[in-house]
Every structure is written in structure tokens, then in C-alpha cells.
């Protein structure tokens, strides 16, 4: 509960934050909403010598519709994402996910950038961003680059983000034909984090599912696509049977040890839940059609 001493800088711009990062190297950590980092510091599991607070850089906040893209600043809070009509309308799975993060206080402080950068396996936003085909825009000393969500989540608390980089935006494709999506989770009764959470995104042409992206977090070391379910859905007619068939294939391609396991939920049970929650996510998405 009592972190060791650290230095604190408040950055007023992305450039300033980047140069502070350069200057302090591995000893420094960016601070956004603080809802993942500060608990780690209080228990001394993380002991950064320098904190660079980016929380007041206004340019990193807010949600814009940019042509066919939804552009979300990394400092946008879960609460703002959940309440945004643009997100609800164009990327309902993300609004769902942000709306079931922790509790009110957490949603008012925690940010999407921090959530994705931290890459807790049980976080809710990664599956939604992954299923929605999102892209993460990052800036480092050598300029900006864009990483597809498919390439961003690499393992337990591990992402494609470099130590000297900052997430500057999350982009969600929101154009094209008719798209419905949803996220559902099984919350851990203690932490509220996802034991299993599934995001489903379906492109529809009439009653036909032209393509599907389904992703899960909580179940694995990081968010992953459920390709078996996706294949089952592609080209199928939207129906209970198609949903059931997809749910059946949710765990396809994964081994028992790909699944997380703890005293609350074994890997076997998580694998089972993955099917149950895939079905629920698909049902919820199609209810929005």
C-alpha cells in the first residue's frame, strides 16, 4: 500500500511525454488513469523510478468519427466510451465492453489506452478492439506507426508497444455494409474482471452473415480470435443453428493449456464457458440486427 519513492512529471504534450520517456528510459512509466499501474505500485510489484503523467494531455482525449473510421483518443475513459452514441452505433461491442469494466469509479478513471497497453489477460477492451478489427496508432522517437489489433496483443501483459512509445489513437473501422456487434462477459465475483469475455462482430447482407470476427479475453494469456467460430459463421444464414454451430467451434484450434486456469475457473471450465459466451455474444449481436 506504500510505494517506494518515485519522481513525478506531468507532460503537457505528446512530444514532451516522448522526450521524458527518452530521457528516463526503462525507469519510467506513463501514467494515464492510474487504475492498473497504481495498484501495482502500491503493492510494490511495479517500482518505476519515474512517472510521466499524460492524463492531462487533452489532444489524447475524445471520440471522433473520421469518415469511415471511429477514432478514439487513448485517454478517453471507459465511461465516456460506454456513453458515446457514436461508439454504441458503430462499434457496439466496444461500448458494451467499456460499460462492464469494473465499477463506476474505475470506468470514470480508467482509459482505453491504459487498458490496451497494460494488456491484462482479463481486461475487457482487448477482445472488443480485436473483433472490431481495430488499429492502434502509436508514436515513438522515430515517428508514428499503426499496429493492427491482430498484431498488438502478444502475450501476458505483453504488446507490440515499445517502451519508448505512446498510444496516440485507437481506430475502429466503422464503414461499409451492415455490421452488428456485441460483447458479453462472465465477471469474476471478486475482481469483476472477465473470467471469459467474448466480442462478436458480424457483417450482414440480409439474413446472410458475410463475414464474422469473434474474439475472446479472459480465457487466454491475451485476447485472441476464435477462428473456428468465425469460419462456422462466414456465409451462414443468421439463425440459432448457425449460432450453436459457431459456439460449438469456439475453442477450436486451442489446446487445454492455452486456457488460463485459477482456483475460480479451471482451463476446462473456461473452455466450456467460451462456447457458452460465444453463443450469448452472437445472440446479443444478432438481436441488434
Amino acid at each position: 500500500m506504500y510505494p517506494p519513492k518515485f519522481d513525478y512529471y506531468r507532460a503537457t504534450s505528446v512530444d514532451e511525454a516522448l522526450s521524458l520517456l527518452q530521457q528516463h528510459g526503462d525507469n519510467a512509466k506513463l501514467l494515464a488513469g492510474g487504475h492498473s499501474l497504481i495498484p501495482l505500485m502500491k503493492t510494490r510489484l511495479a517500482q518505476p523510478a519515474v512517472l510521466i503523467d499524460i492524463g492531462r494531455i487533452d489532444a489524447l482525449k475524445g471520440i471522433q468519427v473520421d469518415g469511415d473510421t471511429l477514432r478514439i483518443g487513448p485517454l478517453t475513459t471507459h465511461a465516456d466510451i460506454a456513453a458515446s452514441e457514436d461508439v454504441q452505433g458503430r462499434a457496439a461491442a466496444l461500448a458494451d465492453a467499456a460499460g462492464v469494466v469494473g465499477d463506476v469509479q474505475v470506468r470514470n478513471r480508467g482509459t482505453i489506452g491504459g487498458n490496451l497497453a497494460h494488456a491484462d489477460p482479463a481486461s475487457d477492451l482487448p477482445a472488443a478492439v480485436l473483433a472490431l478489427g481495430g488499429e492502434i496508432e502509436v508514436r515513438g522517437p522515430n515517428g508514428s506507426r499503426t499496429v493492427a489489433a491482430d498484431d498488438f496483443f502478444q502475450g501476458l501483459f505483453t504488446t507490440a508497444l515499445g517502451g519508448d512509445e505512446i498510444i496516440t489513437a485507437i481506430r475502429i473501422p466503422a464503414g461499409g455494409g451492415k455490421r452488428v456487434s456485441a460483447y458479453v462477459k462472465f465477471p469474476h465475483p471478486a475482481s469483476g474482471y472477465a473470467v471469459v469475455g467474448v466480442a462478436a462482430v458480424l457483417e450482414l447482407d440480409g439474413q446472410t452473415i458475410t463475414s464474422a470476427r469473434v474474439a475472446a479475453n479472459g480465457a487466454f494469456e491475451c485476447a485472441k480470435r476464435l477462428t473456428g467460430a468465425e469460419q462456422a459463421l462466414a456465409g451462414a444464414t443468421a439463425s440459432d443453428e448457425a449460432i450453436a454451430a459457431a459456439a460449438q467451434r469456439a475453442a477450436e484450434g486451442f489446446n487445454a493449456d492455452d486456457f488460463m486456469s485459477d482456483i475460480f475457473a479451471s482451463s476446462e471450465y473456461r473452455a466450456h464457458l467460451l462456447g457458452v459466451y460465444t453463443r450469448r455474444a452472437l445472440q446479443k449481436a444478432l438481436e441488434r440486427a
Binding site: M1, Y2, P4, P189, A190, I263, A265, Y269
Partner: protein, 784 residues
């Protein structure tokens, strides 16, 4: 004062301070020159300390001192943490303030840092160098008694702390031999962590000149702490210790016990001659607050061909943890074995309890303390037997209830129930929940593949432990009476000094209600003082649902004494015979002439002026009572839980919860309902969510609120409460305790409901907490 206050739902006078942040908890207190304590705790469940070097920590800027067991020994204090309840032939290992040579559970205190601020104190903890030689550990009580299990204490073979029994073994075995049907159940009563909102804390201030120690601490019973600090831990004379309970944020039992930590803090203050404060972190409370429950039990029930229960046989391994916590030996014995008759007429009961040492945090009383465990055993067996006999569980209960005309009823396990009418709350609860209709809905739902379950718990509780002589004969090293002084000031305002020590319950409200009615003075004219050993004469404190029944009765008795003394003075003033003076609503008057009256306020002033007192009457108007009840009180009731289980995922949804409790007369319905609500939440917590889990090496793997699930408001339905009133026949208020009833009843009701829901799958039992995975596995397993 026309309105009777007893029985009215007035709002709690405690709350304005609590909800505006003005209440002062221990950690809010600051003294000049105060330093901060942090305690180094063992990361091993069992290890030998081979090297302990504090020099680097001592050298850190801002560190005032670092102490180890050696320093405590050198100071010459007794340095013990004693056990306050003795059983025949029990092994009593000594429990030190700081570990010497060997640590026996994760979290055991090893060294202590005092520093100028908290951050430095915690930094210094990391600089203390300890080398441990890890030893093998055992956490599970059933495994700890096995041959070859690692020993917690060398002088307790097989880790057996005590081997206790109650009831008639032979007669019970005979009942089983003659039974028409029997059922048996192996169950684990899951270990729980108390989770008071305020973690434990202590602020100690020692004045070397006067030799006096003042200790503000999170306590449910300041006088017990003063006694044990004096006798066993610090060796300071009792009159040189003042223990104060400031605002205390809940306890649920965890703040009854005498722990090493507060004694260490006090000792540091004595060593340094400056005030020191310790505030446990949440993680620290998880490792050090005495845990609850943790039984491994085999239980059997026998019935005759008419479905009447003829026998109950129970064998329990009760985890004591690494050392005895203060009242630990009483909890799985006299608060458990004696409750196994439940609400039923059971001619033969035998129970054997083996107390077991393990390399875990000590286990002691936690809300309900023994009684929830007993209720769980009895109510699960009752449901199992009803199912075996093909009877409705409500009918089976009804058939076996102790009938109202059999009270006082002597159980075969020591208790004599003074009163009871068990069908009343059962009928009321069934009506409230719409039992018949629900059973039909359950049938219908099953046809659609939906699984609704209805669970009953018809419980009895014994609280307000008493009388002291009986409690003493059972091994208590404490009395169980309570004290009160009611002091009417010259202006007629009243101060009451109570030995109860509230920590969230609302004593100041209910106690003032009692006094207002008896003295007939305005409620706002009454102040309640508690929780300070210098202000309050003596007291055994608040736990075991004793405060209204015992503490409240003490207040009622002393208030009545005040009335009687006042009557003598009033008679003198009214120039009437004492027998002719009536007292009503704060006025003394001559019978038949109500306008010839003096108020209690008038009498108070005269009592202090003492210009005109009747002969033989001392000045002032106050009275003390040291009230020792003649028996326990026996609240009872029926709780009904309705759940729906998702057969696919195993998720349990608590749809409804109906509770009909009988706690005798109700002083304040709002407070009673609050207690019932909180109690049910904790019982539901045990049933569905809470579990303190140790791994094979004795690490607590549910060490934070991220892993240990306390019930959240959103997990719970709106409770539906009602009550029946069967007054306690032996105390002046006719009240019985209600602080624990909800917890005692609820876990059995909820588990019975889940098992009832899963009846079509043939599921007979699921151990608590009934998590979704366990339900899912039970369904999978039952198919085969």
C-alpha cells in the same frame, strides 16, 4: 414522552457522523511526535529463521528503531499471546509477539520497524535481511492429522490440539443401528476471511513518568484487551493501561481477539517513550485477522419408520491455524456441538470435534461462530433425509420440530432452550414466499429446462452466552455478564456507561431508546458512553449477539434501580408513602392523584442538592448493574432462498430471499432489519462466493479482494423480511440477539436451494462456496 420508543424505527444517531466523514477512527488520530509502525511478516508457512539482520533497515534515514523477538525477550515483558478458553487435555503452545527461530504461518510477525513516516517504515521492511530455511507445511486439517504430516508444534503429536466430544456415543450408535433410514454427508465448511471495512489499527502512547499506557485500537471489547495486555503480553498493571475504542468500522468477530500486533505496537511505545501508530493494510488483515469456519465434517442422520429423527452423529476436524486465537477452542466445540439439535427433537446426538493445528492463520469466532457451521450440518442433513424419504422438506421439518408445549426443552447436547414456537416462522415464511405456488412453478420450469430451487433453513441460535458460572465451567477464562451505570445529572440529563462496545451496530440509538422509556426522559437527553476502560466500569464487550440481550438488560436493570431510588426521594418530596407513589412517563405521582407529581428531573436536582433527602438515602441519582443472565437466549426462525441455476454455465442466480426471524421483543426494527440484511449477505457470501484458499505450501492464494469474493450489493435480491415475537422469558427486556441470525441461517438456505434446483440431476451436495464451476461439474458428474 407519550410515544413508546421501544419498538420504534427511529434513525440511528450514529449515522450523521459516519456518513459525513466526521467520525474518528484509530487511523484518524494523530498525536504530537508520533511515529509509524510497519511489521515484517513471514512469507513462508513454515520455516526456520537462520539469520535475521536488521542493520541496513536501522541505517535508513527516518527509521527510529527496528526490533526483533530478541529485543522483546530482553525487555523482560511476559510477551505472550494467551488463549482465553480451555478444554480438557488441550495442547497449549506458547504464542510469541514476534516469531522466535521458527515461523508457522504466512503473515506471522517477524520484526517491527518504527519510522518517522509510513513510507519509510515500509521501505525499511525491504531492508531487513531474513534467511529462512523452508520446512514442509500443511494447511488442510484433515491432512494435518495424518501420520507423517509436518508438525506445527513439536509437542502436539499429529497436530491434534484437542479431542472433544459431546453427547452419548453409545446411545447414538444404537439409534443408528435401529434406524429405518440413514443419510450421511461429507462436507467442508469453507474458511472465511472477516473483511471488516476498517482494517485493524492501533495507536499507543506510553508515559514513562506515570507508567501509563493509552492504547486506541480497533476493538470490540476494550476491557478484555486491557486484561490480556496486562496479564500476558505487556506485564503492565491493569490500572496503568487505558484501552480506548474510537469509532470502529466493523469487526464480525475479528476485533474480539487479542493479536500480537497491538501488543507489539504498545511495546514499541513503551520502548521509545513516544506515540506510535500501526494501521494494517488490507493484505495484512487477510494474513493476520483470525479467519472463520474451516471444518472438515462427516455427519449422519437416522430416522425411524415414521420419519422421526432418532439420531445425529457428527465428526469434525476443526482447523485452529498455527496457534490458538483468543476464543478459538470454544468455537467448534461449545458453540457448535451444542447447537446440533437445531429446532428438532432428536433423542440421541453425538459429536466429536478434533481441533487441529495447521500452518495457517489462526481461526476464531467470525459472525455466527460455530452456529452457522452447526446449522449447515443439521439443515443439509434434514434436506437430504427429506429427499430420501420422498417428503417435502417443509413437512419433514414440521414433523420433527420440538413442539411448543415442550419448552423449556433439554437437548442431548447441554443446552436448555427456554422458549420457542418453530412452526410460526416456518408458516409465515412459506406464506410470504408462496411456497405451494413456487413448487408448481418449479415443476413447470423444469419442463422447459429451467432449474429453480427452493431452500429452507429453520435455524436456532444460542446467543448471549450465560450465565458466567456455566460458561466458566465449560472452560471460558472470562465472565459473560455485562455492566451499566445510568447516571442522571442534576439537570435531569442522563449519561449511560455501558460495557458493550459497539462498532457499527447502533448501540447508542437502541440503548438510549431503552433508557428513555424506562426513565421517561427525552431520547435526546441521553448520552451513551462505551469503549473506554477509563470511563466505563468494566465490560465484556460486543460479540455473540449479546449487546441487546446482556448489555441492554444491564442498562434496563440500572435504569430501573434509578427509578426506584427516585421513587424514595419523590415519596419524601410528595410526603407520601413510597408504596403509594407511581412512576409513569418521567413523573412520580401519588396514586390516584396524578396532578400531585414531581418529574424525574426535579428529583434528580433534589438528589444532588441533598438538602432534603429522606433518611438513609445517599445523594446523587445513579445506579450500577452488573447483570449476569440466567441462560443464553435462543432466537430462531425460517429463511427461504429461491435460486435459478443455469444448467449450461453453472451460474446461480439468487432470485428471492425470505427471512422470518424471532428475536423476541424488538427495540428498533430498523436496526434489527439492518442486522438481518448484513447477516444474510454474509451467509450468502459464504454459500456462493467467499473462500480463503491455501495452496499445498501454505500460501494464502486468496490474499486480496481481487481473489477473495465478498458479496456485492448487485449480487443480492431485495430481501423480504418478517418476524414473529416470542419474548425471551428470562431477561427484563424480553429481547434475544439478532446480530448473527442472518449469517447462521443463510448459507444453509442457499445451498439447500441450489441442491434442490439440481435434484433432477441427482445432485445431493455441493461444497461451499457453490461456484459456477462446481455446479457445472456436479451436473456433469451426476449424469454418470
Amino acid at each position: 414522552m407519550a410515544e413508546k420508543l421501544l419498538g420504534s424505527a427511529i434513525r440511528r444517531r450514529e449515522d450523521p457522523a459516519l456518513i459525513t466523514g466526521r467520525a474518528k477512527y484509530t487511523d484518524d488520530l494523530k498525536l504530537p511526535n508520533m511515529a509509524y509502525v510497519a511489521i515484517l511478516r513471514s512469507p513462508y508457512a513454515h520455516a526456520r529463521i537462520t539469520r535475521l539482520d536488521t542493520s541496513k533497515a536501522k541505517a535508513l534515514d527516518g527509521v527510529v528503531a527496528v526490533f526483533t523477538a530478541e529485543d522483546v525477550a530482553q525487555s523482560g515483558i511476559p510477551g505472550q499471546v494467551p488463549v482465553g478458553w480451555l478444554l480438557p487435555d488441550m495442547k497449549i503452545p506458547t504464542r510469541p509477539l514476534l516469531a522466535q527461530d521458527r515461523v508457522r504461518y504466512v503473515g506471522e510477525a517477524v520484526a517491527v520497524v518504527v519510522a518517522e513516516d509510513r513510507y519509510t517504515a515500509h521501505d525499511a521492511l525491504e531492508l531487513i535481511e531474513v534467511e529462512y530455511e523452508p520446512l514442509s507445511a500443511v494447511a488442510n486439517p484433515a491432512k494435518a492429522v495424518e501420520e507423517g504430516a509436518p508438525l506445527v508444534h513439536d509437542d502436539a503429536p499429529n497436530n491434534i490440539a484437542f479431542d472433544w466430544e459431546i453427547g452419548d456415543k453409545e446411545a447414538t450408535d444404537q439409534a443408528f443401528a435401529n434406524a429405518a433410514h440413514t443419510v450421511s454427508l461429507n462436507l467442508v465448511n469453507n474458511r472465511l476471511i472477516p473483511n471488516a471495512v476498517e482494517p485493524r489499527a492501533a495507536l499507543a502512547d506510553y508515559d514513562p513518568v506515570s507508567g501509563r499506557l493509552t492504547l486506541w485500537m480497533t476493538t470490540q471489547n476494550p476491557h478484555i484487551h486491557r486484561l490480556l495486555m496486562s496479564l500476558a503480553s505487556l506485564g503492565l498493571p491493569e490500572h496503568k493501561i487505558r484501552v480506548i475504542a474510537p469509532e470502529v468500522g466493523g469487526g464480525f468477530g475479528s476485533k474480539i481477539h487479542h493479536y500480537p500486533d497491538e501488543a507489539i505496537v504498545s511495546w514499541c511505545a513503551m520502548q521509545l517513550g513516544r506515540p506510535v501508530k500501526w494501521q494494517a493494510t488490507r493484505a495484512e488483515t487477510y494474513l493476520t485477522d483470525a479467519h472463520g469456519r474451516d471444518h472438515v465434517t462427516t455427519a449422519e442422520m437416522a430416522v425411524d419408520e415414521n420419519g422421526k429423527i432418532t439420531g445425529l452423529r457428527v465428526h469434525t476436524y476443526a482447523n485452529m491455524g498455527a496457534y490458538y486465537s483468543t476464543f478459538a477452542p470454544a468455537v467448534p466445540t461449545y458453540l457448535y456441538g451444542t447447537l446440533l439439535s437445531g429446532e428438532y427433537e432428536i433423542p440421541n446426538i453425538y459429536c466429536r470435534v478434533v481441533g487441529v493445528f495447521t500452518h495457517t492463520t489462526p481461526v476464531d469466532a467470525y459472525r455466527g461462530a460455530g452456529r452457522p457451521e452447526a446449522t449447515f450440518v443439521v439443515e443439509r442433513l434434514v434436506d437430504l433425509m427429506a429427499r430420501k424419504l420422498g417428503m417435502d422438506p417443509a413437512e419433514f421439518r414440521r414433523k420433527n420440530f420440538i413442539p411448543p408445549d415442550k419448552f423449556p426443552y433439554q437437548t442431548p447436547v447441554a443446552l436448555q432452550y427456554d422458549s420457542g414456537d418453530y412452526e410460526k416462522p416456518l408458516n409465515k415464511a412459506l406464506e410470504l414466499v408462496g411456497y405451494e405456488q413456487l413448487r408448481r412453478e418449479q415443476e413447470e420450469a423444469r419442463k422447459e429446462g429451467r432449474y429453480i430451487g427452493i431452500g429452507l433453513s429453520t435455524y436456532i441460535e444460542a446467543c448471549g452466552l450465560a450465565p458466567s458460572s456455566v460458561v466458566g465451567s465449560l472452560g471460558a477464562q472470562a465472565g459473560q455478564w455485562e455492566s451499566a451505570i445510568v447516571r442522571v445529572h442534576p439537570t435531569g440529563k442522563v449519561t449511560v456507561y455501558s460495557g458493550s462496545s459497539g462498532h457499527g451496530q447502533g448501540h447508542k440509538t437502541t440503548f438510549a431508546q431503552i433508557v428513555a422509556d424506562i426513565l421517561g426522559v427525552p431520547y435526546d437527553d441521553i448520552e451513551i458512553i462505551q469503549g473506554d476502560t477509563d470511563e466505563v466500569q468494566y465490560g465484556w464487550g460486543t460479540y455473540g449477539s449479546r449487546s441487546a440481550a446482556v448489555g441492554g438488560s444491564a442498562i434496563a436493570v440500572s435504569a430501573q434501580k434509578v427509578v426506584e431510588k427516585g421513587r424514595k426521594i419523590a415519596a419524601h418530596l410528595l410526603e407520601a408513602a413510597e408504596d403509594d407513589v407511581a412512576f409513569e412517563a418521567g413523573k412520580y405521582y401519588v396514586k390516584g392523584a396524578p396532578d400531585k407529581a414531581v418529574t424525574i428531573q426535579d428529583v434528580a436536582l433534589q438528589a444532588y442538592l441533598a438538602h432534603n433527602l429522606p433518611p438513609g438515602i445517599e445523594p446523587a441519582l445513579e445506579a450500577a448493574a452488573f447483570y449476569d443472565p440466567s441462560n443464553f437466549t435462543f432466537p430462531f426462525g425460517t429463511h427461504v432462498a429461491v435460486v435459478e441455476v443455469n444448467p449450461e454455465s453453472g451460474e446461480v442466480n439468487l432470485l428471492r430471499y425470505v427471512a422470518v426471524d424471532d428475536c423476541g421483543h424488538v427495540i428498533n426494527p430498523l436496526i434489527v432489519e439492518g442486522q438481518v440484511h448484513g447477516g444474510i449477505a454474509q451467509g450468502v457470501g459464504q454459500a456462493l462466493y467467499e473462500h480463503a484458499v491455501y495452496d499445498e505450501e501454505g500460501n494464502l492464494i486468496t490474499g486480496t479482494l481481487m481473489d477473495y469474493a465478498v458479496p456485492k450489493a448487485r449480487f443480492l435480491p431485495s430481501f423480504e423480511l418478517d418476524r414473529t415475537v416470542t419474548p425471551c422469558p428470562h431477561n427484563p427486556l424480553g429481547v434475544k440477539g439478532i446480530g448473527e441470525a442472518g449469517t447462521i441461517a443463510a448459507s444453509a438456505a442457499v445451498v439447500n436451494a441450489v441442491v434442490d434446483a439440481l435434484a433432477p440431476f441427482g445432485v445431493e451436495h455441493i461444497d461451499m462456496p457453490v461456484t459456477p464451476e462446481k455446479v457445472w461439474r456436479a451436473i456433469q458428474g451426476a449424469g454418470n
